[in-house]
Symmetry: none
Amino acid sequence: MSEAALVLICDDEPQILRALRVILRDAGYEAVPAQSGEEALDKAAVRAPQAAIIDLMLPDIDGVEVTRRLREWSEMPIIVLSAVGEEEAKVRALAAGADDYVVKPFGPPELVARLEAILRRAPRDAEPIVELDGLRVDLAASTVSRDGEEIHLTPTEFRLLRVLVRNRGRLLTHRILLREVWGPAWTEDTPTLRTHIANLRRKIEPAGGRRLIRTDPGVGYRISV
Amino acid sequence: MSEAALVLICDDEPQILRALRVILRDAGYEAVPAQSGEEALDKAAVRAPQAAIIDLMLPDIDGVEVTRRLREWSEMPIIVLSAVGEEEAKVRALAAGADDYVVKPFGPPELVARLEAILRRAPRDAEPIVELDGLRVDLAASTVSRDGEEIHLTPTEFRLLRVLVRNRGRLLTHRILLREVWGPAWTEDTPTLRTHIANLRRKIEPAGGRRLIRTDPGVGYRISV
DNA sequence: CTCGGCCGTGGAGATTTCGTAAAGAACGGC
DNA sequence: GCCGTTCTTTACGAAATCTCCACGGCCGAG
């Protein structure tokens, strides 16, 4: 699962979106495009990109607001795009939690350089490789294996496992898991959570019927230490 | 990973209490209301809020005294509310251990800003692991164990144990236990409380017939220190 | 001594919640 | 435009949990 890093891009002009996509692909990243603020927030929650590039001028909710709402639950690096003359909005975006800004028009090298700068700066705290009952989880590399055999997880399954492993031993409520994996707007949908837990178990639990992920009925789940 | 932080609010005017509640809810906090100093001290003990907002002018014991009594056992951040002209009381409250004060009338943003400032300053008191007569209770992880053996509790049993442990040594009435575990609408059903206390005892008390949870007949229960 | 109140205990029934499978929908790749 | 992967939704049997009830013991009042 060591794929290209995902970068959310958000602009209402399809032309710019396409340009950004090409720039990023050439630099080795995969773009997640969004044409509106709402769409950007949705995709940020669902795809969990490693960074976001957001235009300040958007049709529905502006870039400052998108930044603010992202910061409510995510630490991901954010670059805002501003046109000349949007000085004030730029300042507000930085205050709302943006990490950097780029003034349009910009050259591809400049954008890529700034993106890589903030990705480097992002703590990316050295996350250790965790071993739980024969299961190896490498949070930095996003890989999971048992007995040397790599196990393929879908993006959602991996995000779920990551939250559980980072808090191993601790009981996590349905609400917390839903918020951490699907984003803050999604804290009710327990059936979906149940399904993904079931799929995850089928893939990662040892053969002997032992449970690695334990259920606390009516409350949530936890992973054994 | 953070559920809504609890904030104790204490004022004798229901109107202000309601206003505070709305302000806090909009800012993402859950309010624990109290209309008197005594009630504030009770609820602070039982609910373990992360911060407190206390009016200086109260019907029974004044805000300064409430601050002092809270500080006897808790480090929680405290903001006092003072009317203009209560300069002297304000100073005494700060001396008694309050962290900040806000003069009425105040704007919601100001209050929220000060609250978040002191919450940042006092980063989340990690709830300690409590050990009682060989029983380990980890309130943060929601786990209970004895002799290294993990003990499985149902959600209700754990909520009950949590209230007892947070108030260890203190007598808790049936009414208080029912309110804290089952909610404010459920303060009559002592038979159910008895059943759950019995189930809890069976699971957590040591083998030698020693009682960890003590009964005060006609009044309530307490857990031994 | 008897009675009434309160408590501890065990168990039965009902309700809620869970696990799993399978079908339908969204998305991207080719 | 078709296909494979992934995610969501739905349905149903199984399991866990909660509530309620009945019985017996203890203790103090009368």
